[in-house]
């Protein structure tokens, strides 16, 4: 009998690869062992890579009949104890929305990669967009909170894939990687660290007797320990409003208690979850806020502005949701104007306007999808802001 090859889930070393492949490898390094998906441009390379790699690490890849089935099967696999994911783009993420809500109310850890393309509808299948920002936050009906991350390089696509799984496990929530076609089809250097240097988090396991286990009894941190199906805990899981046992209770009081906790477990941890990057912000008078691929052009624009003597700085959002409202409120105190650059008709700018409690100009540098901002396009908005 041939010896079983060692599990090679972390491809330590230097690679020259795409954002999509980096995401696949990042998810594997994070411990992902289940992928359920449906092909869609520009995300398909993630599914292709996972179909090759998951069996090698004793994981399961399955191509489902549509995106609705994909997210449903991911939720099921997560309850069976596997770190689970799917990857898709605009039309697919729209189809997944109902079950993302099921994931939120049943507190099911999973990662959903959205490689954004231009929308609405079929839109621009092969070209970049950032128009799903508000959908990521509000896409499923009812009140809930979500975590969304936006990488701006191939390296960060890998790093944030690990972060996404860690956050999903820690907060028992679906996490959306809100990336884009440009990042995912771009080739760059990727350095994968040794396995020993990758810090992983796993969902809390129940302690105490199985008989007394209540499926949705939260600890003081608002997060309930999660039992694995098949171990005799008799979990009770429903998409209906439920009490600590998981039993449906259809009244306003239970709804208030449950939905408040679902929102608070994320909102009250905003600072802990928050990841941002600052570039020349300390003495800035014009603050540029951007994320994803657009933040690379924004950084160039800030440098060009500095050459022209305009004190510009960049705040790059890595965590998009929960939104770093407090951070932006405090940064706004020191600046004269804000420019928000994004590939949509003005989505993040709405959150920025809500965060800024000061009467300063807040300008939008918008593109509607299909191409990335040039640094000069954002520079012209910085110049406009500096004259106001």
């Amino acid at each position: 009998m041939s010896k079983k090859a060692p599990i090679n889930d972390v491809l330590t070393g230097e690679h020259y690869t795409s954002g999509n492949e980096a995401i696949a490898e990042g998810c594997l390094a994070a411990g992902c062992r289940f992928f359920g998906g449906y092909p869609i441009t520009p995300s398909s390379e993630i599914a292709e890579r996972m179909s090759q790699r998951l069996p090698q690490v004793d994981g399961v890849f399955i191509q489902m009949e549509d995106e609705i089935a994909s997210i449903a099967t991911v939720l099921g696999a997560s309850w069976a104890g596997k770190k689970s994911m799917t990857a898709t783009s605009g039309p697919g993420i729209s189809l997944m929305m109902e079950n993302i809500g099921l994931g939120a109310i049943t507190e099911t850890p999973c990662v959903i990669i959205n490689v954004q393309r231009g929308g609405p509808s079929t839109g621009l299948p092969t070209l970049v967009g950032q128009g799903d920002v508000m959908q990521a936050r509000w896409g499923s009906h009812g009140d809930y909170e979500i975590i969304a991350l936006a990488p701006n390089s191939v390296q960060e696509a890998f790093d944030l894939s690990i972060e996404a799984f860690n956050l999903a496990e820690e907060y028992r929530t679906p996490v959306i990687m809100l990336t884009d076609e440009s990042i995912c089809h771009m080739f760059e250097k990727l350095v994968i660290p040794p396995k020993s240097q990758i810090k992983l988090k796993d969902r809390k396991k129940p302690k105490g007797s199985k008989k007394n286990y209540l499926t949705f009894q939260p600890d003081a941190d608002m997060i309930p320990p999660m039992a694995v199906v098949g171990e005799g805990y008799n979990v009770f899981v429903t998409g209906l409003t439920h009490n600590e046992k998981g039993y449906p209770v259809i009244d306003a009081e239970t709804q208030e208690k449950l939905v408040k906790r679902l929102c608070d477990k994320i909102l009250l941890n905003e600072e802990k979850i928050r990841k941002t990057e600052s570039h020349k912000v300390n003495d800035a008078k014009i603050l540029v806020i951007s994320f994803g691929i657009t933040s690379r052009s924004a950084k160039g624009a800030v440098d060009l502005a500095r050459e022209k003597g305009i004190k510009a700085g960049l705040l790059r959002l890595i965590t998009i949701w929960p939104f770093p409202t407090k951070l932006i409120e405090s940064l706004a105190q020191k600046v004269d104007a804000i420019v928000v650059a994004e590939i949509n008709n003005g989505q993040i700018i709405k959150e920025v306007k809500e965060a800024v409690r000061k009467d300063i100009p807040i300008l939008l540098s918008s593109k509607l999808g299909g191409s990335v901002h040039t640094p000069k396009e954002i520079l012209s908005k910085i110049e406009e802001a500096s004259k106001k």
């Binding site: 069996p55 090698q56 399961v60 399955i62 009949e65 939720l75 997560s78 098949g230 039993y247």
Partner: protein, 287 residues
Amino acid sequence: MTVAEKKIDKSLLEAKKHPMDDLLRWDRLPHVWCSGCGLGSVLSCFIHAIANSGIPKEKFAIVSGIGCTGRASGYINLDVFHTTHGRAIPFAIGLKLANPKLNVIVFSGDGDLFAIGGNHIIHAARRNADITVICCNNFVYGMTGGQLAPTTPIDAWSSTSPYGNVEQSFNLCHLVYSAGANFVARWTSLDARRLQESMEQAIKNKGFSFIEALIPCPTTFGRRNNYENGLKMLEFFRDNTIIKNGIDPKDAEIRLGDKIVVGKFIDKPDQLTLDDRLARITKKSHE
């Protein structure tokens, strides 16, 4: 002295504990179903089948969708999931593939499984996913008030076909068999023994197994179609069903006015399942 005034000897109740008690969540009873509904009978057959299967209880996971039948999982004292409308099957496939040692059973209704969830059931059968699907067919959308379902017989009345149904209905057994199911049976809720026996076989059978349980819904279907109560519908089942075991499911279509064919139609044991094939792939990838 009325019954309520009689002193109840609690020790007597304890002594008469039903053998199936630990498979039900007594703190969730009474159930939501109407009087005359067949779901209680089917649920009873189901928990007996589970108990008789000899499979350890913790190995079961029961998944339901939305609707009257969708509530069934919530009365069972096992790992249970009440998912979104139509999506019980892909959720169940996720459970099964992530842990092939689980015995995963979908217990849901005809509208949930064959209208909104129709795409998933044919693909689950095609893949030969090793799950059991129990479909309670009441010919109608019960929970929402008796609207037209893909199982409503042509010409039958429903709250959204007030002049009679103009659409052909699905023959569920034929559909899943055509798509690749290994075990296919249909019984009414009146055929309790046979239904339970088929459930036991389906649960133990490898591969995609399907059971259609025809049930009365006097409240939303019967009353509009000249069966004013549950008893009348059961009498209809008694007088208008014929057992034809082993028949090709294509010859078991349900039409108003015709005899309804019930029986164990298909039983193909030991077929290679989706998880068998995935395990082969895993082995291959290590070479």
